[in-house]
Symmetry: C2
Subunit: 168 residues, 2 copies
DNA sequence: GCAAATGGTTTTATAATGCAACCACACGAG
DNA sequence: CTCGTGTGGTTGCATTATAAAACCATTTGC
């Protein structure tokens, strides 16, 4: 069975496609956090988990997969390693500002489930305002002037060319 | 996509983990749209793409993968098939309300890239208010009374028990 | 009817995932 | 120091998902 370009040294790179160089910001996000586990790890990190064992225990995922994901998240600047806060020689994984910035994405995912899931009664938790203990509103997208926008009120424009600073 | 089930006793050596029965709404969302291509397909659908060939051409993905994804999205009620709008015998894939409800998730992903990407100058487009042509604000999370909340202002509570209708 | 386009499926190869076993190091007790 | 245990991984191997390309059935244009 001759396969195209097989044994002659020309390896066919059948890779999982990468969006790293894509100009679409959504694709670029997915490049960093667009897999099953990464967002769940970040979710747990937002909850305060820090140790390898904590993530592994809470998420019930294979240790090798967790290790790969943690490395990837560190590489992407979403997590950072730090010496353990309890004085031991172990290390911890803590969210960077970039990692904490994922919060709105998680809220959007949560609210989508709350609104459209076929069995919403199976959802165990509600995101509430800490002060009042009342559920939060749906995320709002607003114009510069404050008007609430829905999808039809928006459009995409090419990014304006970067303004060059005059010989700073 | 991972096989559904796994919680209902019909479990047959489930390999790739499924979050279908998870009580976390984020996991439930990821079950439906938590893979590389689904969100990009939805993005293109929001832009108006409808035909198999349009998706395949625009996203540059393998046809078999596209076919699997489209089927999955239809199964999840995110897309629906419809007779072609141009009168031909072909079919089209159109977003359901549930599919259009993904919009805020895409906005959140976009804004995360805009804020934290290492090379934001590579991002080609800006989401703007259609009326004014001005960039939109960051998504805002608000309390019931209108206060803008950040992550620290929120917490999770168990979902209140469903109110039972007074029988009869 | 025939060629080309459309919308897939099948085949085959590679990469990712998952489980279990293994291993290095830290730490505590003796 | 040595043993035993917990933590934090890595390594093999089997299974699954993804990918490219070939193939195929309809539909459309002519």
């Amino acid at each position: 069975m001759p396969k195209p370009g097989g044994r002659d040294g020309t390896e066919t790179m059948v890779k999982r496609t990468s969006f790293a160089g894509d100009t679409c910001p959504i694709a670029r996000s997915l490049e960093a956090i667009g897999d099953w586990w990464s967002l769940l790890i970040i979710r747990e990190a937002l909850f305060g988990l820090r140790r390898f064992g904590e993530f592994q225990n809470k998420l019930g995922m294979a240790k090798n997969i967790l290790a790969v994901r943690l490395r990837s998240l560190v590489d992407h600047g979403i997590l950072a390693t730090a010496p353990a806060s309890d004085g031991s020689a172990y290390q911890e994984y803590v969210l960077t500002p970039k990692g904490r910035g994922v919060f709105p994405i998680l809220v959007a995912l949560r609210q989508w489930s709350e609104e459209f899931d076929d069995n919403p009664e199976e959802i165990a938790t509600v995101l509430v305002d800490r002060d009042k203990g009342r559920p939060v509103r749906k995320l709002e997208l607003r114009a510069e002037d404050g008007r609430v926008l829905n999808m039809a009120d928006t459009t995409l424009k090419p990014r304006p060319a970067p303004r060059r600073r005059s010989a700073g």
